[in-house]
Amino acid sequence: QVALKTAEATDGASVDPKQGCKKHELYVSFRDLGWQDWIIAPEGYAAYYCEGECVFPLNSYMNATNHAIVQTLVHFINPETVPKPCCAPTQLHGISVLYFDDSSNVILKKYRNMVVRACGCH
């Protein structure tokens, strides 16, 4: 059994870190996280993750903030000063989870910011 399944979102190739910042597929099984004792449903979910370089010049699709643009230039001029901006989620959304709370009640609640919707350079 594979602990965590991951695959490329579009072309099925493995992740090349030299690629630009973008969203990648990631299915998370709650059993694999050791959470099967407190999460009743779902079994797992498509969480996705962000990876890729925030390189100079930033392409517009990377949803870079003004600060990331400035930081990219500062890094380009003097790489020792600051790191490159990093590739992180710009939009997240939630899922519903049926789980045991601290008092052993079974509750259905929304867990916000669980799924990556879009990535960008921050």
């Binding site: 009743i40 449903a41 519903s96 989870v97 049926l98 079974v106 929304k110």
Partner: protein, 209 residues
Amino acid sequence: SLGFRIEEGMCQHFYLLRPIPSDSLPIVELKEDPDPILDPKEQDLNETELKAILGSKFDQNFMSISPPEDKYAGQDDLNESEVMKQRPTGTMPKEIKAMEFEIQHGKKHKPSKKLRRRLQLWLWTYAFCPVVHTWQDLGNRFWPRYVKVGSCYNKRSCSVPEGMVCKPAKSSHFTVLRWRCLQRKGGLKCAWIPVQYPIISECKCSCPN
């Protein structure tokens, strides 16, 4: 089976590191594992037995075992004039109660006490956000399968000037049963367990996000 063996001490940390739930409503759809082995069978659905488990928590007005007849003809189709007919409940918002409706053009015009009361009632009715009840199918792993959940009427803005919408403000919950299966040494063991299903109990005219 994990690629990395989790030690006892690490597990302690694992338990500390959990995502944090939110009380925000409405609930998004719960994604179920499609495997039919996890569904309750005919013999697991004994109405008398299950009603006995739920006891006084079984509320006939808000729960149904069979598909409700008015499922698609619920209050969801209410048009605006029907919603406006609903008298607001609770207490009048204090800012509406404080309104004098003084109109100034040259000299002051103060409306009569009766007119003032009528206008306050009109504004309160306009800004009131009723809870709209609709039947929802929770799927066959919940019992009773059909519950009447609340939602907020949002086909028009509830404010003057427009811009605010009816949003969930308070929630309560029903207790229903959930068919839960666990992989044990002797195979799959399933049972009905009581769960709290959250519902919107009050809506309020608020700014979106």
